[in-house]
Subunit: 84 residues, 2 copies
């Protein structure tokens, strides 16, 4: 893997992992009033399509990374709908 | 552009555009208590690196798309810090 690709993967990992503090915060506080439900509905759909795309172009790492993102985003969406 | 690439770009546009309802909501309600500040700090850093990566590999559309995402994420981060 070239150095330039490492930068891309590192950026991707940061972007996906940035969902983690939101998941933990929403889980702990049980308060999601300020979150936009549309933000997470559109995000989840986008991630599903992105994973399909990654699988079609045979890019396993991107599929896995966004699969983790999809799990986290789905949890946040669930918490948003549950706690309003 | 192949059909498969259109899927990738469409997914990317959805993912970036999903920030819009959150930006509008936070702007209108002036309430950002439930947003995780770390989510947006890590996200902004990740997007900046991702844009640098896209520029390095000469992928203009991805750089522009994530540039829009960076603007929206920075506005949300600003609103989060301003309104707590």
């Amino acid at each position: 893997m070239e150095q330039i690709d490492i930068l891309g993967y590192f950026a991707g990992v940061l972007i996906v992992m940035s969902l983690l503090p939101q998941t933990v915060k929403s889980w702990r506080t049980k308060s999601t009033r300020d979150l936009s439900v549309w933000r997470y509905i559109i995000y989840v759909v986008g991630l599903i399509l992105w994973i399909v795309y990654a699988l079609l172009i045979d890019n396993g790492p991107v599929a896995i990374m966004n699969g983790i993102g999809l799990i986290l985003a789905t949890i946040i969406l669930y918490l948003k709908i549950k706690y309003k």
